[in-house]
Symmetry: C2
Subunit: 217 residues, 2 copies
């Protein structure tokens, strides 16, 4: 099973290069990960658990640099068109569809990072007719994890510490993998938006006019 992520960091700053490069570097080098970049995104190949942890490290580092910074990430596992890679085969206690090991309750890594983010994600279980059940289970799962904010058209909004949000999304990924081999998640995470405080009041959720465009910054 091939698994990995294409992700991009978007610091809304003139100094975006100085934020992106150290953040990508913060993933570190490991024989368990393959990392490739081009001008649009960075690819990380490895087990889902290692990939989620690496992307979380990169985005965490970008968030700590300050300002408004967004992560856009495409996580994929089991695409029939992708070659298998030994890097993607979990070793030891991490099986293909197990709970995320590194963030299991009680583990040292479960501690919060102190970075509050807003996020939204969509999950696509492919190749099966009853995929809507998998999507519903994924949404229930983030509710149970305490990071659900609200439903939007085409995606689900989340809010919480970066670690809790990533753990919850990773869990929906592994849970859906029990239903079908090929699962894709798109995650957008945002920190430091000047509109976030206003939006988090939940007063403007049902905006229905163009006049609310000022929220989207």
């Amino acid at each position: 099973m091939f698994s990995g992520c294409q992700f991009s960091l978007y610091p809304m700053s003139d100094n975006f290069v100085e934020v992106i490069l150290p953040a990508v570097e913060a993933m570190g080098t490991s024989p368990e990960l393959r990392i490739e970049t081009d001008d649009i995104s960075t690819l990380v190949v490895g087990t889902p658990s290692n990939v989620f942890a690496a992307v979380e490290r990169a985005y965490g580092a970008a968030c700590r640099a300050g300002g408004h910074v967004v992560l856009s990430a495409l996580f994929s596992r089991g695409c029939p068109g992708e070659p298998d890679d030994p890097l993607c085969t979990p070793q030891g206690p991490e099986s293909a569809t197990a709970e995320p090991v590194a963030r299991a309750p009680g583990s040292a890594e479960r501690q919060r990072a102190g970075i509050a983010i807003d996020a939204q994600f969509s999950i696509y279980p492919l190749g099966i007719e009853n995929y809507m059940n998998s999507i519903a289970a994924g949404i229930d799962s983030v509710k149970q994890a305490g990071v659900f904010d609200r439903s939007k058209h085409f995606c689900t909004r989340l809010h919480g510490d970066i670690r809790d949000v990533f753990a919850a999304v990773e869990k929906t990924f592994s849970t859906a993998a029990r239903e079908t081999g090929h699962v894709v998640i798109h995650l957008t995470a945002s920190k430091g938006s000047p509109s976030a405080k206003k939006a988090s009041s939940h007063a403007t959720h049902e905006t229905t006019t163009h006049d609310q465009e000022k929220n989207h910054v």
Copy 2:
């Protein structure tokens, strides 16, 4: 059939608010579109053709503002969990699975905008077992449109004038809709990246080490 888009603009600039607001406004107001925003994304609801045209207008306006600016967009049609909306029902010559009308060859709107962009997209035809055939057809389609750049893991890179890229992606959307009711496309478009010129030399495509991280800006 409910159809629309959640999109975000990311100007890599201290003045990001001054780029985003006029760009969202450039979509205009129309009884054929419903537009809602929050701090993460802007929703556009309407027929696929109207929605693609609106998002193209917004991103085009952001590109004209100069600098490095990225669009991240989720286009969706036919999700069984979404309510139907009369706004999404094509009137007149635009049928649910027809060629995009506004950008049909020979139409006035088919002229190029003079904005060269790099992009990558993924298409998810949901609820069917033979979805890989639909994905392959979508990739063939962008090749025929002349905007194919190369395949990447999990997505396909495109290059061309913003109008040609949008027309090609919209066409894959309508083509896949002949196979299944529920189709999602994620599109990332980038203009003005300081790494793009280097990457477009095609010399660094097969980067396999962390040392190439500098390309991802």
